[in-house]
C-alpha cells in the first residue's frame, strides 16, 4: 500500500503525536502559570493533568473529524511549541 498524504496513518499520527505534544504544552504552561500565580506545584500538576486528558481526547477526535489535516498539524504542533516555550520562559523567570 502506498502512503500518500491522504492515508489514515497521517490522521493517526496527528491524533496521537500532535495531540500528545499539544497536551504536553498545555500541562507545562498550566503548571508553570498556575505556580507563578500562587498555586502549589502539585495542585497545579493535578489540575492540569485532569483538564489535559480531556483536551487530548478532544484533539484526538478532532484529528479524525477535521477536513484539513494541515490545520490539525498547525494547531497541535504550533500550540505545543508556543505553550512549552512559554512554560520554559516562566520557569526561567521564577528560578
Amino acid at each position: 500500500m502506498r502512503i500518500t498524504g491522504h492515508h489514515p496513518l497521517w490522521r493517526i499520527a496527528a491524533a496521537v503525536l500532535g495531540g500528545y505534544a499539544f497536551t504536553w504544552g498545555f500541562i507545562a504552561l498550566g503548571m508553570a502559570g498556575a505556580f507563578a500565580l500562587g498555586m502549589s506545584f502539585h495542585d497545579a500538576e493535578h489540575l492540569t493533568a485532569i483538564i489535559g486528558f480531556l483536551i487530548y481526547l478532544v484533539l484526538f477526535l478532532w484529528a479524525f473529524a477535521a477536513r484539513s489535516l494541515a490545520r490539525v498539524w498547525a494547531v497541535t504542533a504550533g500550540g505545543a511549541l508556543v505553550m512549552a516555550g512559554a512554560a520554559s520562559l516562566i520557569q526561567h523567570q521564577l528560578t
Binding site: 502549589s40 477526535l61 521564577l94
Partner: protein
C-alpha cells in the same frame, strides 16, 4: 478522508476499538477482579487466612523486622545499570521506611529504601519489601505471590510489562481510546435513548449482539468514562512527566520552598540521631484525630531520613470512611517525638484529585459499591466482547466469499481474550494449589511458576482458538468458543476442589464461619462454571441451527 463527521467517528470507533479492545478486555476483567484483590490473596496464600489487623506496635514488632531487612540480590542486579561503577557492598543509610495496610489486610506490607551513594539519579533509593503477620512479626515466606494484589492488580494497569513502563503506556493508550470510543460510539448512534431499552435476543445474532453492545455501552457509559479518565489521571506522572523533565528545576525549587514552609526537612543533616518511641507518636496522632471526631486507625506510617537528626515520622489515617485515600497526616521529629506539623485541610484541587482517584482506587469500606464496581467492570467486558463479535459477524460471510482471513483472526483473538483470559486466571489458581509447599532446590520461586502457569495457559488458549478457527473462514461459528467454555466449566470447580483438598477450607466451613474472602472466591468460581456451561449449551444449539439456516437461505436463493 471521510465524507462526514459520523463516518469519521465510525472509522475511529471500529479500528481503534478493535486494535486496543484486546488490551481493554484485560484492563476491564482484571480491574473487576482487583476490586477483590485482597480477598484473592487470602485464597492464594492460606497462611494469611485470618482477620484484618491494625498496624502493630512499631517499637516492639516492626522495628526488629526493619533492622533485618536488606535489598535482595535481584533488586541489586536490577539497579546495577543505574549506578556509576559497581553496586555498594553494604547499605548502611536508610532513606525511608514504612508500613501500609487497609481495612481488608490481615498481613502487613513493609518497605524500606536504602541510600545508594553512587546512583546516577541521586534521589533514587534501592527498595526492599516484606510481608509479616502483624500479630507476632513473623515473616511470610517471600516466594508467596499475592495473586490478587501483586499479579492481577498490576496486570490491570501495567499488563505486568515493566520494561520502561511499556505496559502502563499501552494501558494508557487503551484508556484514551476507550474515551474516544465512548464519544464516537454516541455519535454513531443518534437514537441513544432508545438503545437503553433495546435488546432483541431473538433477532439474528448480528443484530442482537449489536443491541447488547449498545446497551452495555450506554447503560454504563458514565462508569466507563469515569474509570478510563481517572485511570489516566492516576498515572499522569508517567504519561506526562512534565514536572520531572521540562519543569524539573521548578519542581525542585517548589520542594525546597515547601520543606521550608512545612518544617519537614528535604535533606539529611548528616548528624546521627536516635529514634524516640514511634508508638507514642502514633498514640498522639490517634488522640488528635479522635478530637476531630475521625476514625483513628493508622493506614500508613513512614519514617524519613532514618537515623539522622533531620529524620521525621509521618502518621496517616486509613481512609475507610471517606473516598479520598489515606490522609490527615501528622508529622513528628524522629529523635524527640516533638510535633512538627499537622497537614492542613486539603484545598479545592486536592479535594478534586483525591475524590477522582479515590473513587477509582476505593480504599473506603462499602461492600455494595465494591460489588457495583465488579458489575461495571464485567459490563465493560461484555461491551468490548460483543464489539468483537459484531465485527466478526458483520464481515465473516463477506470474508469467506473473498477468501480473506481477517474475520477468522479477529475471532480467534476474541476467543483468546474472552474465554482464554478466564482460563489463564484459572490455570494460575490451580497451579497455586498444585505446587508443593516447599519446592525442590534449583527450581524457580513459587510465585514465578504461578506466573508461568498463567501465561502458559493463555498461550495454550490462543493456540487452541487459532487451531479451531477454520469454520469462521467458511462463514460459520468457531467451535473454540464452546470448547473453552466447557474447559472453564471443568477447571473452575477443580480450583474449588483443590482449595478444599489442600487447605481444608471447603465451602461449608468457610460459609459457616462467614469467612467471605475464601467463600466468596469459591462461590464466584462455581458461578463462572455455571455461566460457562449455559453459554456452551447455547452455543451448541446455535451451531446445530446455523447450517440449517444457511442451507435454507441458499436453497431459497437458488429457487
Amino acid at each position: 478522508m471521510f465524507q462526514s463527521f459520523r463516518l469519521s467517528m465510525a472509522w475511529l470507533h471500529t479500528w481503534f476499538g478493535l486494535t486496543l479492545g484486546f488490551v481493554l478486555m484485560v484492563v476491564f476483567f482484571f480491574g473487576a477482579l482487583s476490586v477483590f484483590d485482597r480477598e484473592i490473596d487470602r485464597w492464594a496464600v492460606p497462611q494469611s487466612r485470618f482477620e484484618p489487623q491494625p498496624i502493630p506496635s512499631f517499637d516492639k514488632i516492626l522495628r526488629p523486622v526493619f533492622e533485618q531487612m536488606q535489598p535482595t540480590q535481584e533488586a541489586i542486579a536490577e539497579m546495577a545499570p543505574r549506578v556509576n561503577g559497581p553496586m555498594p557492598e553494604t547499605y548502611p543509610v536508610i532513606e525511608r521506611m514504612g508500613a501500609y495496610t487497609t481495612h481488608r489486610d490481615p498481613v502487613l506490607n513493609l518497605f524500606i529504601g536504602f541510600d545508594v551513594p553512587n546512583a546516577k539519579d541521586p534521589e533514587e533509593a534501592i527498595w526492599a519489601y516484606r510481608t509479616i503477620d502483624p500479630r507476632n512479626g513473623a515473616s511470610l515466606p517471600d516466594d508467596r505471590l499475592k495473586i490478587g494484589s501483586e499479579f492481577f492488580y498490576p496486570l490491570h494497569y501495567s499488563l505486568n510489562l515493566h520494561w520502561r513502563d511499556i505496559g502502563t503506556w499501552i494501558v494508557g493508550s487503551a484508556a484514551l481510546v476507550m474515551l474516544a470510543a465512548l464519544v464516537s460510539g454516541v455519535v454513531m448512534h443518534r437514537k441513544i435513548f432508545r438503545e437503553f431499552f433495546t435488546f432483541r435476543p431473538g433477532k439474528t445474532s448480528q443484530r442482537s449482539v449489536l443491541d447488547l453492545h449498545n446497551l452495555t455501552g450506554v447503560v454504563a457509559l458514565p462508569f466507563h468514562f469515569f474509570f478510563a479518565l481517572t485511570g489516566l489521571v492516576i498515572f499522569a506522572g508517567i504519561y506526562f512527566p512534565v514536572g520531572h523533565t521540562q519543569l524539573d528545576p521548578l519542581h525542585e525549587m517548589s520542594e525546597r520552598l515547601e520543606a521550608a514552609e512545612t518544617g519537614l526537612p528535604h535533606d539529611r543533616a548528616g548528624v546521627a540521631a536516635p529514634l524516640a518511641s514511634v508508638d507514642a507518636m502514633v498514640a498522639d496522632a490517634q488522640r488528635r484525630w479522635h478530637e476531630k471526631g475521625m476514625a483513628g486507625e493508622v493506614g500508613f506510617l513512614t519514617l524519613q531520613h532514618v537515623g539522622d537528626a533531620n529524620g521525621y515520622v509521618s502518621v496517616y489515617r486509613a481512609g475507610t470512611d471517606r473516598i479520598a485515600l489515606t490522609g490527615e497526616g501528622i508529622h513528628y521529629k524522629a529523635a524527640t517525638g516533638e510535633l512538627l506539623r499537622e497537614d492542613p485541610a486539603p484545598g479545592f484541587v486536592d479535594n478534586l484529585n483525591e475524590f477522582l482517584t479515590g473513587l477509582h482506587l476505593q480504599h473506603f469500606r462499602h461492600w455494595l459499591l465494591r460489588w457495583l464496581y465488579v458489575l461495571g467492570g464485567l459490563t465493560g467486558c461484555v461491551c468490548i466482547a460483543t464489539g468483537f463479535i459484531f465485527f466478526v459477524e458483520k464481515r465473516k460471510r463477506q470474508h469467506a466469499k473473498q477468501g480473506i482471513q481477517g474475520a477468522r483472526l479477529v475471532d480467534a483473538l476474541a476467543v483468546t481474550t474472552v474465554t482464554g483470559m478466564v482460563l489463564a486466571a484459572l490455570g494460575m489458581l490451580i497451579a497455586n494449589k498444585l505446587l508443593p509447599d516447599s519446592l525442590p532446590a534449583g527450581w524457580p520461586p513459587r510465585g514465578d511458576l504461578e506466573q508461568y502457569a498463567f501465561w502458559g495457559s493463555w498461550l495454550l488458549a490462543f493456540i487452541h482458538a487459532l487451531a479451531r478457527s477454520g469454520p469462521v473462514a467458511a462463514g460459520r461459528l468457531s467451535p473454540a468458543w464452546a470448547e473453552q467454555c466447557r474447559a472453564i466449566a471443568v477447571l473452575a470447580p477443580l480450583a474449588v476442589l483443590l482449595n478444599w483438598i489442600i487447605t481444608g477450607d471447603h465451602l461449608l466451613r468457610t460459609l459457616s464461619a462467614l469467612y467471605w474472602p475464601v467463600a466468596g472466591l469459591d462461590l464466584c468460581l462455581l458461578a463462572s462454571a455455571g455461566v460457562a456451561l449455559l453459554a456452551a449449551a447455547k452455543l451448541k444449539r446455535r451451531a446445530l441451527a446455523a447450517p440449517a439456516i444457511d442451507t435454507a437461505k441458499r436453497e431459497a436463493a437458488h429457487a
